[in-house]
Amino acid sequence: MRDVPILKLAGVMIVLTVITSVIMLIPDWFGEQASTAADDIDRLFDISIVFSSFVFSVVMVLLGYAIWRWRAKPGDESDGEPIHGNTRLEIAWTAIPTVIVSFLAAISWIVLDDIEANEPAEDSMALTVTAQQFAWEFEYPEAGKTSREFHVPVDRQLDVELRALDVLHSFWVPEWRIKRDLVPGAPGASIDDDFVVEPNKEGTYSLVCTELCGLGHSTMRVEVVVESQAEFDAWLVDQPETPAENEDQAAAEDAS
């Protein structure tokens, strides 16, 4: 190790880190952002890309250098230097990754707390999403309406509750960056079946089921229309009333 050009290698690593990071940061990996959580999550992903590029560059430069520098000449039957280790180096490559992953864990935790406001905002709209093989149903309890179509107002926090009638399903709108399984048996003490999300961009997106739920799993997609409050209200008026037994059930749940 004595004659290894450490500074030069470090320079190459930094250059490669920068190049890889820049290339990796150009594409819009996660696609369009359409919720308030998306920006935070995408920034976290960008940070992870920079650290990943650094780790990747360090490993590739060291590996490439070792192969280039010490590749055996044809017919060379000699042995390498009998180096058994180096305590300082070993401590370094235990400690530095520990610091890096601890940092990543810390910022992930911060972002997680950020996107999951524990208390719904005051003007949030309640929404109950029910999944069954292989269809979605959306209940708007404040208006007493239930629909197979999925419309939500823009810039208003949704306080979503999830229900599954048969097997596991999963609620995912890629542009919102939010995913959560719908578990049969919810609401239950041990099942975390609600989350908040605030769509902040009008448009039409897809709600995709991402938990294998049987034969029709790949067809279990539905359009998500994010529109202005006025358009949403107009749409909601035309939707059917929530059937009575559903309301009874909801009332029973509220009472309990």
């Binding site: 060291l62 070792a66 180096i83 058994h84 490559w93 995913k179 975390d192 034969l215 790949s218």
Partner: protein, 634 residues
């Protein structure tokens, strides 16, 4: 003919299977008749008259093949027939089709059987990619498609990656530690024969009403508890594969702890031995969990228990907790033996001692301990208790540290080395460092909860698991097969074809799995037969690359078969390695050693003047006095 029926072998095996199957069938029908029930219960989760024979017929087969003969005689008080070891070694290819207690024969039986399932699973993967080449459904209907990816994963995980490592270690490990065989040779034989049964049950599910199991290899309840009959075959196949795993792990533990050659202290064990010690610790403690949870699913299905039926007080999410409490450690069960292989290959081909040997061994143990504390990172979006997520994220990210130690140590080993790239094993070892580093990095990203919330259950996950299981485990398996091929067969493989195989595999692997990250992040969920048209171009490219990857494996198959038969003779030690298995002939003598070797130093003392790892029996006269006195004092 009478002799054929009476003595262990295929005839008695077939009769045993028939008798066992008939007994199970009769038992079910008889009990149902006595209870006044319909004789045949054909709800899709039922079919007891199929499930019970699917347990008893394999047991009858195992009896017929002679797996239990010694134990049954002993248990019934009949005089046992002392083993004269006449069956050791394989004189013709037919000997590989018999119950054999020789660890080298069993090792080859394991490797060939598991590679058979690798090619079947690979063929299924080609069908999956063919269906996904275009959006919409073209080749198979969605139900069949769900069966294809479920059986692909089940075959690859349970009857290829996990057992092929057991096969390689079975062959190499006793030789490495200077033992004449494994600690329990009969148990070892039984472990092997349980395996093909698991594979046949997985594949047999295609033939039953409702088709192959189609709830994914994860078999999440309640989809699995309500699925057609094929799911029961998955539940049972996992039992046979799991029993095989547990028995082998016990065997390795006892062999490693009690049968090391004199002088081989723990700190003189080759890292492959350390790796298998760590893996076995994982298997014995974790595998019972998947066995248990699959029984619970089977009971929910066939006996109408309510472990996972929420309507009757069951808990749906608990399936995932128990499943991943095995299946996350299983990721390391599928990786640690590979780490061991890579250490052997890199040290030998770099002509250098492993850099930081002790930290390498400790890192393995660190992974064993940590791997029990990360399972719920598979469940960040599963609706489990919120408070469990952050602790699981922290342990998940921390487990990258011991893994990183290993990568840096391997590269440290290559510094100041005399690096030989002529062996295909070394190419796969270096390729492994590249692909596994990428897989490790995407693993850290997945450990970060907010990122995981977005990419969980998408093609990003599919990309990640194939980077760690194909770019990780399978690359190390190829490295191991190429490295020990001369030892196992006594012949050399064709290095030129080996290089073709390596470069095709690396290119095909990157072309197939790199773009999966992108389509996953953009919004393509996993486990779908049909997908949104925006992903069409990428999927077509992935399919083309995957066919290339599939074709590369045919090069490997050709190379192995032809070289095994016609390859040039290999000397005992073509790689000039130091560990004990290379100090005996290729293939090794039937009983490994005339006299147990004595270990006098570390396993990787390349470049240390006068250093020896072991002194073989035949060398006695050559050994100078001072060295022998050194042996006595150490």
């Amino acid at each position: 003919m009478r002799a054929a029926i009476g003595s262990a072998g295929w005839w008695r095996g077939i009769y045993g299977a028939l008798i066992g199957g008939a007994f199970g069938f009769g038992l079910v029908i008889g009990l149902r008749a006595i209870s006044g029930l319909d004789l045949f219960q054909t709800e899709q989760t039922g079919y007891p008259h199929v499930i019970v024979p699917a347990i008893t017929a394999p047991l009858g087969f195992l009896w017929g093949m002679g797996n239990f003969d010694y134990w049954l005689r002993w248990a019934s008080g009949a005089p046992t027939i002392p083993d004269d070891h006449a069956d050791h070694g394989a004189k013709t290819w037919k000997d590989y089709f018999k119950v054999n207690t020789d660890h080298k024969v069993i090792g080859i039986q394991y490797i060939v059987t598991t590679f058979f399932f690798f090619f079947v699973g690979g063929f299924i993967a080609m069908l999956i990619r063919a269906e996904l080449a275009q959006p919409g459904t073209q080749i198979v209907d969605p139900g069949t498609y769900n069966g294809l990816f479920s059986t692909h994963a089940a075959l690859m995980i349970f009857v290829f990656v996990i057992p092929v490592f057991a096969g390689i270690a079975n062959y190499v490990l006793p030789l490495m530690i200077g033992a004449p065989d494994m600690a329990f040779p009969r148990l070892n034989a039984l472990s092997f024969w349980l395996l093909p049964i698991a594979g046949i049950l997985f594949l047999g599910s295609y033939a039953v009403p409702g088709g192959a199991f189609d709830a994914g290899w994860t078999g999440y309840a309640p989809l699995s508890t309500g699925a057609p009959l094929g799911q029961s075959f998955f539940n049972l196949g996992v039992q046979f594969a799991g029993a095989s795993s547990i028995a082998t792990a016990l065997n390795f533990l006892v062999t490693i702890i009690t049968m090391r050659a004199p002088g081989m202290t723990f700190w003189r064990m080759p890292l492959l031995v350390w790796a298998n010690l760590s893996t076995s610790l994982l298997v014995v403690a974790a595998t019972p969990f998947i066995a248990g949870v699959q029984f619970m699913v089977l009971f929910d299905r066939a006996l109408h228990t309510n472990f996972f039926q929420e309507a009757f007080g069951g808990d749906v999410v608990s399936y995932q907790h128990i499943f991943w409490f095995y299946s996350h450690p299983a990721v390391y069960i599928m990786m640690l033996p590979g780490f061991g292989i890579i250490s052997e290959v890199i040290s030998t081909n770099s002509r250098k001692p492993i850099f930081g040997y002790r930290l390498m061994a400790l890192a393995l143990l660190g992974i064993v301990v940590l791997s029990y504390s990360v399972w719920a990172h598979h469940m960040f979006v599963a609706g489990m208790f919120e408070w469990l997520r952050v602790p699981m994220m922290i342990t998940t990210l921390l487990i990258a540290v011991p893994t990183g130690i290993k990568i840096f140590s391997w590269i440290g080993t290559m510094f100041n080395s005399v690096l030989h790239l002529k062996s295909t094993a070394m190419l796969f070892a270096i390729g492994f460092i590249v692909t596994f580093t990428i897989g490790g990095i995407s693993g850290v990203m997945l450990g970060m909860i907010p990122i995981d919330i977005h990419v969980s259950d998408t093609y990003f996950i599919v990309a990640h698991i194939h980077f760690v299981l194909f770019g990780g485990s399978v690359f190390t398996i190829f490295a191991g097969i190429y490295h020990w091929f001369p030892k196992m067969t006594g012949r050399m493989y064709d290095e030129k074809l080996g290089r073709v195989h390596f470069w095709m595999t690396l290119a095909g692997m990157l072309g197939t799995f790199v773009p999966m990250h992108w389509i996953g992040m953009e919004g393509m969920p996993r486990r779908v037969a049909d997908y949104s048209a925006e992903f069409a171009e990428w999927n077509l490219m992935i399919t083309v690359a995957s066919f290339f990857l599939g074709a590369a494996q045919l090069v490997f198959l050709y190379n192995m078969i032809v070289s095994w038969r016609y390859g040039p003779k290999a000397g005992p030690n073509p790689w000039r390695a130091k560990t004990i298995e290379w100090q005996v002939s290729s293939p090794p003598p039937i009983f490994n050693f005339d006299e147990i070797p004595r270990v006098v130093g570390g396993p990787y003392e390349f470049g240390v003047p006068g250093a020896r790892h072991a002194i073989m029996a035949g060398e006695k006269s050559e050994v100078k006095k001072p060295e022998r006195s050194e042996v006595v004092t150490t």
